[in-house]
Each structure stands twice: as structure tokens, then as C-alpha cells.
């Protein structure tokens, strides 16, 4: 049992400390780094999906007034480490996917850089490209592990026999689309190479991880690389690891020493250079008794990675622990294609992996004539099915019950396609949410006293989530002082090392580290420290990690309205109830939940990166064509939470909340659309053309 803080600042809905700077436009983002005389660069991308470039003609581009340099695979500096092929840009002539960067123009203005980029002439030796993901490919392979280090396959009991003998079985295939993260702020970097030191103002979810990556790629000692990132305009995982653009900016800076260089991807470039979520094909088989208890679960997932770098989304992982069943088999198979490199996108694994299974549970509920809330309750495991450990806290059933009450689920008529309100067919649906509560080792925090105030330093990142605001709340309670007396310094490698803002681990990892530093500070200096008193501490290990299964849970209830004439789908209401430990700041937390839920509606109804197999690139690569939910698509969103305090995850009693909001949402919407129309859509997104044939 972790010793929990007495919550005084924790739990208060404090306003964002970075709010005034952001709304007044004075918060400097990476592209607005305070530098003088910047140059600008613009990448030139391959327009074939596989092959090599035989010539990169730069004469015309270089002759343009204001062009400083044009880097090509033939002229760019050789990187020290090219093991990560995604980052090894301008190192060879090979083209592993359409959009690979083949030249980089550095110029006095962004306009000139862009104009010159159009003048770069590239000749190709073209190979046949292979970009189509299908479950029947004969070259699917089994990765050694799935992101980040889960077993690829699992097998318990005798699934085949259990499926044969089950009173009721279900065998369905579900698909999720290819998705792109699309934060408002594109991937941007300002880079300066001066006196043997590389300074990067980079839009990132982790300054130290970027420093580590770039130092390795360029063969520099880490202390010769500084990364600064006080503010981020969203990342959703796409800024969790360094992608090619930051390497490009650094290459450009080293080509014009002493002069800062800025790079901002265009929206279109983000569709091939900043990661994305793989499409998934999920074959789900369930066996159950008439009482609704699962006797078998089998989930086989097929997804893609790039030919040059493996990323295996852990889509089947949540099905390993969500419900009780004695017989369970899960697995992942990949196709390595001539496509850009997939990566993290909000709740990798859980997000797609709670679509198929949660729709399947709804289908099973109909098969059995059992209410879908009740069906889930009946399959609640007593212990973690995967490890046999107890849960540190698991209140899924309470979320389902409280959410049902709040939403008005009682007395729901289960019949599909029978409710009409004017032109609308109306239905409701439910799905469960889950996200692991993890802690990452390896952060350090410093607590210092001076001029009557405490300062906590840690190189954490606030990608819009609220770290600037919640970390002082945690530090204040750990120090036992008012939150107004605590400043934090984050977002810079000048501060002590911190782990990435990813996997909903930020607040737990940095918070536990801050608490350790604060407590050490108190132990050493007591309540009356002197100016300059300072203590540093590292992330403590959590011995409970091996003894408990730690997850946040939730239940999402959706009301779908489908226009009976046109098939247009609207999510009239979406209510989420979460059990995610103690909520450190209700204001920023609600925003996280609602943001995730909005992204889930977006996934359910809109988002779909359309990869044209003839060309090999996503052809709806802008925000006019890649639809993301707009305000009118989420008229009534509500997020609530249970009063849960988890004694095992961290000293705050909290769990990560950045990702769980997107988990299960699309399934809740799909289930509601079925209830409204009687049409079961198993392939996202749910668009009107899929509903029209089944409408009255």
C-alpha cells in the first residue's frame, strides 16, 4: 500500500496556469521560439511509393534568390546512427513509402523555401508498391512483441473445444480505419547549431526522449543537445517519439551553423511524416452459456506496419483482461507494407481493441436477450484474468450502474429500429472503457526553496493536458504548503530528466517523483527551509506493481439519431462515467475525458484516412476532407467520475486519464446506431451509405 497524500490542493478545479498566456497569444510555441534572423526549411517528398531516386536536381531551386541550401540524399550530412530507418532521412536513395523526404530546402523565408521546393527535380527508378492491408494476405507475420512489450499471442484453456460446445457462439469481423492524429499545432521545430551545441525548440511530448534520440542519431553527447518545449498544441501520441521532421530541422541547422532554422510541416505532410494509427481487422469469436457467461473468447487481429520499421499496435491486449472466461486466445499478425511508419495515437491498443470486442458483446447481448449492461456485469472477473493478481481497484460495474442511472437506461426497450422522433430513428448503446494505470521509471525532480517560494523542476511536457497546473497541486500537497506558493518548471532539458507524456503515465510518473523529492526535502529541511535549500529525487519504484493489476475503467452511453430518410447519423448524447482514481484537477480532467470522447465520436462517424493503393498515399490529407468531429457533432457530452481513490498506483491515489475517454466510445455509438436502425455496422466509420440499404 502506497502512502497517500492528504488532498488539499489535489481535487481542486484550479484554472490553467498557462491559460492566460495561451489565450492572449503570448505563449511561445516551437515555431515561435525567441530567435533572431531565422531561416526556414521545406521538405520535398517522394511521389512514388517504392523505388529509389536516381537524381535530385537542385540547380533551379538553388538559383532562386534567398535559397541558402538544398540538402539531398547525395549531399546531406551522414548521420552517426541510422538504425532507426524512419529517422535516417536524406541518407540513401531508397524510397520505402510515398512521402519519404528526398530533399530539404533551406531559405531566408518560408515562402521562398516552399517555392524552391517545387523547383527540385526528382527522377525515379520505380518499383511496384504494395500498400493494401487484407486479412487474406499470405505474407502476414507474427511480430516478436506488440507495443510496447506485450506478448504477441496468448492462449489459455481450450478455446476451440469451448467454442464447439458453447450454447451460443458469435463469429464476427470488425474493422477500424487508418487514422491520423492531427493535432491543431503541426509538427514544428526551430533548430540552432552553434558552438558545438544543438538547441531544438520542438513541439514534443517529451523533451528528454527527443534529446536522447537526436543525440544518438547525430552522435552527440546528450549534454550537447538542448530541447525546449514549454507549450504544445496537441500531440495525441504523434509527438511522443521523434519523427523525421525534427531530424530534418537539425540537419538544416547544421548546414547553416549559427543561424536558427524553422520547420513546420504542412497539414498534408503530417499524413506521411508524423505517424498514424494502423487500420485493424479484428476477427472476434465468442462462446457463452445461455446465462451470458463467456466460455470462450478468441480475437485475431491483422494490422499493418511499414516495411522499414515495425510498429505493432497491441490491439488484442484489452480483450485479455476485460472479462472473465476460462478459455481465451488472442493474437496479432502484421503486414509489412510500403507505407509510412505507424506509431502512437491516443490509446494505442485499447482504442481500436475495444471496438470489435465491445460491439461483439452487444451482439451477444441481443443473441441471448440479455441487457448489454447486465451481460457485462455477469462477466466481471474477480481477479485480473491475465495475471491472476487482484485489481488495485476495479469499479467497472459501478461505472455501468451509475452511468445507466445518469443516462436513463432503465426500462430501455431492446428492440432495434422501433423508436421514432419526427424524422429521426432513435437508439441507445453502451460500451465499457479501460486503460492501464502505469508508471514509467526514470524521471528526476528537484525541489528548491528561495524567496519564500518553492520551485519544483522536472522536464515534463504539457501537451495541453494540464501538467502546468496539476503538478503544482501535487507538489504543494507533498510539501504541505499552499499551491500558490509553488512554481513548477517543466518542458526543457535544462530541468531534470523526465519521461514522455504518453500512455497516460505523465501525472503518475512525474507526480510520484515530485512527491518523493518533496518528502525528501521536508525530511531534510523541515518546515522552515532556507534560501537555496534543494533536494533531488528519482522516480520511486512501486512494489505494488507486481502484486496488483492496475487499470482505470469507464462506461460510455450514447444516444444515436439516424435520419430515416438520409441515413445521417448524429450522436445526440454521449455520457461517460469513469473510475480513474482520485481526480487531481476536475477542470483539466473533465477536459481530458471530453476530449477523448469527442475523438471517439470522430472515430465512430468521421475519421478515415483514405489510402489510394494506386498512388500509395492518403488522398484526403487535409482537414476539409479528413473529417474530425466539429462542435455540431458533439452537442451533449458529459463526463462524470466515481469517487475512487486507488491506494496502489501512486501517492496521489490517481490514475492516468488522458486516453480512456476515447476507449469504447466508437463501440457505444455503433451499438446505439444498431438500436436506432437495426443495421449493424462493423466497419468504421459509420457513414450513411452503410445504413441506407437497411432503412425503412
Amino acid at each position: 500500500m502506497t502512502e497517500l497524500l492528504e488532498p488539499r490542493a489535489i481535487g481542486r478545479a484550479l484554472t490553467r496556469r498557462d491559460g492566460p498566456a495561451k489565450v492572449t497569444g503570448t505563449a511561445p510555441y516551437a515555431y515561435e521560439a525567441p530567435v533572431e534572423g531565422a531561416a526556414y526549411c521545406h521538405p520535398v517528398q517522394a511521389t512514388i511509393a517504392r523505388g529509389r531516386c536516381t537524381r535530385v536536381g537542385t540547380v533551379e531551386a538553388e538559383s532562386l534568390d534567398g535559397v541558402l541550401r538544398v540538402l539531398t540524399p547525395f549531399t546531406a550530412e551522414r548521420l552517426a546512427d541510422t538504425e532507426d530507418a524512419e529517422l535516417a532521412v536524406l541518407q540513401d536513395r531508397e524510397i520505402p513509402f510515398r512521402g519519404r523526404v528526398l530533399a530539404l530546402v533551406v531559405a531566408d523565408s518560408p515562402e521562398t523555401a516552399r517555392q524552391a521546393a517545387d523547383l527540385v527535380e526528382i527522377e525515379y527508378d520505380r518499383d511496384e508498391a504494395d500498400v493494401e492491408l487484407r486479412a487474406d494476405r499470405d505474407d502476414l507475420y507474427k511480430p516478436e512483441k506488440v507495443n510496447p512489450s506485450f506478448p504477441t499471442d496468448t492462449d489459455e484453456g481450450d478455446v476451440d473445444a469451448a467454442l464447439r460446445e458453447a450454447a451460443v457462439t458469435l463469429d464476427r469481423t470488425y474493422t477500424t480505419a487508418m487514422y491520423h492524429n492531427n493535432p491543431l499545432e503541426p509538427h514544428t521545430t526551430t533548430a540552432l547549431w552553434e558552438d558545438g551545441t544543438l538547441t531544438l525548440w520542438d513541439s514534443t511530448q517529451g523533451v528528454h526522449p527527443v534529446r536522447g534520440t537526436i543525440a544518438k542519431v547525430f552522435g552527440l553527447p546528450e549534454e550537447r543537445v538542448r530541447v525546449s518545449c514549454p507549450y504544445v498544441g496537441g500531440g495525441f501520441g504523434s509527438k511522443g517519439t521523434a519523427h523525421a521532421p525534427v531530424v530534418l530541422a537539425a540537419l538544416a541547422a547544421r548546414a547553416v551553423p549559427g543561424r536558427p532554422v524553422k520547420l513546420a510541416l504542412t497539414r498534408q505532410q503530417m499524413f506521411s511524416l508524423a505517424g498514424y494509427r494502423t487500420p485493424t481487422i479484428q476477427r472476434m469469436r465468442l462462446g457463452a452459456g445461455r446465462d451470458g457467461r463467456l466460455t470462450a473468447l478468441r480475437l485475431d487481429v491483422v494490422e499493418q506496419t511499414s516495411r522499414i520499421k515495425e510498429f505493432a499496435e497491441q490491439t488484442a491486449v484489452p480483450a485479455r483482461m476485460m472479462y472473465a472466461t476460462p478459455n481465451r486466445r488472442t493474437g496479432h499478425r502484421l503486414a509489412a507494407l510500403d507505407v509510412p511508419v505507424p506509431s502512437w495515437m491516443r490509446a494505442p491498443g485499447e482504442c481500436p481493441g475495444m471496438f470489435g470486442p465491445e460491439v461483439a458483446m452487444d451482439e451477444l447481448a441481443y443473441e441471448l436477450g440479455i441487457d448489454p449492461v447486465e451481460l457485462r456485469v455477469r462477466n466481471e472477473p474477480e481477479r485480473d484474468p491475465e495475471t491472476g493478481n487482484p485489481f488495485s481497484s476495479r469499479h467497472l460495474v459501478e461505472c455501468l450502474r451509475a452511468g445507466a442511472e445518469e443516462f436513463g437506461w432503465a426500462d430501455r426497450d431492446p428492440r432495434p429500429g422501433v423508436r421514432r422522433d419526427g424524422r429521426w430513428l432513435v437508439g441507445t448503446g453502451v460500451a465499457a472503457s479501460v486503460y492501464p494505470a502505469r508508471r514509467q521509471p526514470g524521471s528526476t525532480a528537484v525541489v528548491r526553496f528561495g524567496n519564500g517560494r518553492y520551485t519544483a523542476e522536472i522536464g515534463a511536457a504539457d501537451l495541453g493536458t494540464g501538467a502546468w497546473t496539476v503538478l503544482p497541486q501535487i507538489a504543494a500537497d507533498a510539501l504541505g504548503v499552499p499551491v500558490e506558493d509553488v512554481d513548477v518548471r517543466i518542458g526543457d532539458t535544462e530541468h531534470p530528466k523526465a519521461t514522455v507524456a504518453g500512455g497516460s503515465t505523465g501525472t503518475t510518473s512525474w507526480g510520484a517523483t515530485l512527491v518523493a523529492a518533496a518528502e525528501a526535502f521536508r525530511d531534510k529541511y523541515g518546515d522552515d527551509p532556507g534560501d537555496g535549500d534543494e533536494v533531488s529525487a528519482e522516480t520511486p519504484e512501486n512494489p505494488d506493481e507486481d502484486r496488483y493489476a492496475m487499470y482505470a475503467f469507464g462506461a460510455q452511453f450514447a444516444e444515436a439519431r439516424v435520419d430515416a430518410d438520409t441515413g445521417e447519423v448524429r450522436v445526440a448524447r454521449l455520457h461517460g462515467t469513469f473510475a480513474a482514481g482520485r481526480i487531481v484537477n476536475p477542470r483539466t480532467a473533465r477536459s481530458q475525458f471530453l476530449g477523448g470522447m469527442t475523438m471517439g465520436v470522430s472515430m465512430a462517424l468521421h475519421e478515415h484516412s483514405l489510402l489510394d493503393p494506386r498512388f500509395g498515399h492518403v488522398v484526403n490529407h487535409d482537414l476539409a476532407e479528413y473529417h474530425i468531429a466539429a462542435n455540431a457533432d458533439v452537442p451533449d457530452l458529459k463526463a462524470d467520475w466515481l469517487d475512487e481513490t486507488d491506494p496502489h498506483v501512486n501517492p496521489m491515489g490517481s490514475k492516468g486519464i488522458g486516453e480512456i475517454g476515447i476507449v469504447g466510445t466508437a463501440a457505444a455509438v455503433a451499438n446505439a446506431v444498431f438500436h436506432a436502425t437495426g443495421v449493424r455496422v462493423r466497419d468504421l466509420p459509420i457513414t450513411l451509405d452503410k445504413l441506407l440499404p437497411g432503412l425503412p
Binding site: 517555392q115 438520409t566 489510394d612 498512388f615 476539409a624 476532407e625 466539429a630 457513414t687 451509405d689
Partner: protein
């Protein structure tokens, strides 16, 4: 993006001369389409002639109750005009269903119908497109065709015209006032836009240097019973998959007259004359509405596509037109 010269002549006539005399010049209105195309490399004029201050920003009434709308009137102002809202609900609704509030504040009435047809491949200079480069080939054929044409397309181009305003103006038999190098002339709105044929590079019948100065919307008292219905993939800020502009006059329980135009189905706003002919003089009932839609779609040719194609637009047109006519002919229209 290429450097260009920017100018603001003092008069419309000077602007016309400036553009007519320079094949690489272009007019700039609200910029909501041209500026996008500059950034995408779809358009690369060397000279931009800003006409936003050169045409009328007034909406004037003519003697019999029709409206003359200056080309410089912003979309948001036109949609908010009381006369437009009362006399031509179809027009106000079409405007408000387009783009976003910010874009409507910028977009001009003259410029909106002149936005280029939309197609993923037209907007992507790395893929072949006959509209950008005649003879290069059409990438949409065999590609993503969800938003593409089902009527009046050619083997050279299957793009659709995206303007909502244009669909309403087509239904209302508006007239276009054009100032060209040879002087003033009028063009029926329904003749303004072209089908692609073998010249998909030409969206309209206007010649280089022709400037739209105003539109006339004739008096049509029964257009008070009119509506615009836009069906799209998200609740706002999306182009039409299918849209219907319709006005109906009911006399003695029969459809005395009717105007219908469709959006999202063709290279131009599609005036549905065949459907109108089926409806005129008949009793308003659901089976008739469907028959009218089906008559209009008799020559429709849906496209296959990597995104599932656009065959869904046929039932969608029928269902949407039926719904609009059902609402308009109900006893209390507009509910």
C-alpha cells in the same frame, strides 16, 4: 507557391482590362478558394487583381419584388437579409449550410459560385488531373469517388461543384450580370456552369477577364415555400454528398409549379427539369416524388471507387428529394 503581384484597381472596368490582358492574372474575391489553391499549387497566377471593393455590396429590390444582389455582398450578409429569408428561404438556407461562419464572412456572392469543382485529385498536384492539365488523365476514375458526380460527367472529369449558393440560384432561375472586355452582358444562371465534356479545365462559360458584377433573382412569390436540404458526412462544415433546393407552388391540391436543383451530383448545379416535368400538374404524394427523382436519375452513372464508390447517391437523391417535397407540400410548410 509562386510570387505574384497584387493590385487593387480603382474600377471594375480597370480590373477587367487588367485580367483580360494578362493570361496569368486572376481576380480575387473573398479568397476562400483561390488562396487555398495558391497554397496547394493548384493555381499559380502571376498577378492577383482584388475586386472585393469594385462591385456592389448592396441588395436592391426591383419593381416586381425580385432582388439584385451585388457581387461584393458577403455570404453572411446575404443569408441574414430579411428579404432573402422571407422571400427565398431556399437561398438563405443554402448559404447558411455552406462552410463555416468565418468563411461566410469572407466569401462573396460573386466568388462563391466561381469556386472550382472539388475532387481530391484536382487538389493534389502530385496526381494526374485533366482539369489541371488537360490530357493528363483522371485520377478520380478508379480512385476515391464518394463526393463525385453521378450525372453529366465525362471520361475526362467526374468532379462535382461544391457551392450551395449556386444550387439555390439555379433553382431560382437567377441571372448573372457579367462585365467583360466587350462590355456588359447577362447569362442565365443555369447556363453559367458547364459540364466537363472534353474541356474539364473550364468550369463555367465565362471567358478570362469576365467579372461577375451582380445577380438578379426574379420575383417568385411562391418561393416562400422553398427549402434547401444538404446531406453531408458531418453535421456542419462539410461539402454536400447530395443537396436539394426546391420551391413548390400548390394550387387546388395540385403542384402548380415547382423548381428543383440538385447539388453534389454533377460538375454543375443540376437543375432537375425532368423531375419538375413529372411533378407539374400532379397531386403531391410520396410515390410521385419518388417517380420524379427516378426520372431525373434515369441517365445517372454511378462510379466505383476505392472508398466504396458513389452508387449510394442514387437512393440518397431519391430519398432526400422525396423528404424535401414531403415537407414542402405538407399543410404547414416550413415546419
Amino acid at each position: 507557391m509562386k510570387p505574384f503581384a497584387y493590385g487593387r484597381p480603382a474600377t471594375a472596368a480597370e480590373a477587367v482590362d487588367a485580367v483580360a490582358g494578362d493570361p496569368a492574372a486572376a481576380f480575387l474575391g473573398g479568397g476562400t478558394n483561390l488562396v487555398d489553391h495558391l497554397k496547394l499549387g493548384v493555381a499559380a497566377p502571376r498577378r492577383i487583381v482584388d475586386v472585393t471593393a469594385l462591385t456592389s455590396t448592396e441588395i436592391r429590390e426591383d419593381a416586381d419584388g425580385g432582388l439584385e444582389i451585388g457581387a461584393g455582398v458577403r455570404n453572411s450578409d446575404l443569408a441574414a437579409d430579411r428579404r432573402v429569408r422571407e422571400r427565398y428561404p431556399v437561398l438563405a438556407q443554402a448559404l447558411l449550410s455552406g462552410a463555416s461562419a468565418q468563411l461566410r464572412n469572407m466569401a462573396t456572392t460573386g466568388g462563391n459560385p466561381l469556386q472550382r469543382t472539388r475532387c481530391l485529385y484536382f487538389q493534389d498536384v502530385t496526381t494526374p488531373c485533366n482539369k489541371r492539365k488537360p490530357g493528363e488523365g483522371c485520377s478520380a476514375l478508379g480512385g476515391a469517388t464518394r463526393q463525385h458526380a453521378i450525372i453529366g460527367a465525362s471520361e475526362h472529369c467526374v468532379a462535382t461543384h461544391p457551392s450551395d449558393l449556386a444550387v439555390a440560384l439555379s433553382a431560382l432561375d437567377a441571372r448573372v450580370h457579367v462585365l467583360g472586355p466587350g462590355g456588359d452582358r447577362e447569362v442565365p444562371f443555369t447556363d453559367l456552369h458547364r459540364l466537363p465534356g472534353d474541356r474539364p479545365d473550364r468550369d463555367t462559360v465565362l471567358e478570362h477577364g469576365d467579372l461577375i458584377t451582380a445577380f438578379t433573382v426574379p420575383a417568385l412569390p411562391w418561393a416562400r415555400r422553398s427549402a434547401y436540404r444538404k446531406v453531408r458526412d458531418r453535421a456542419s462544415y462539410a461539402f454536400a454528398l447530395v443537396s436539394v433546393a426546391a420551391a413548390v407552388s400548390i394550387v387546388d391540391d395540385k403542384i402548380d409549379d415547382v423548381r428543383i436543383a440538385l447539388g453534389g451530383v454533377a460538375h454543375k448545379p443540376w437543375r432537375a427539369h425532368r423531375a419538375e416535368d413529372v411533378l407539374r400538374g400532379e397531386r403531391a404524394e410520396e410515390a410521385l416524388f419518388r417517380a420524379a427523382a427516378e426520372a431525373e436519375l434515369a441517365d445517372a452513372r454511378p462510379l466505383d471507387g476505392i472508398d466504396g464508390g458513389n452508387a449510394f447517391k442514387l437512393p440518397l437523391v431519391t430519398r432526400t428529394l422525396t423528404a424535401v417535397l414531403r415537407d414542402l407540400t405538407a399543410e404547414e410548410p416550413g415546419r
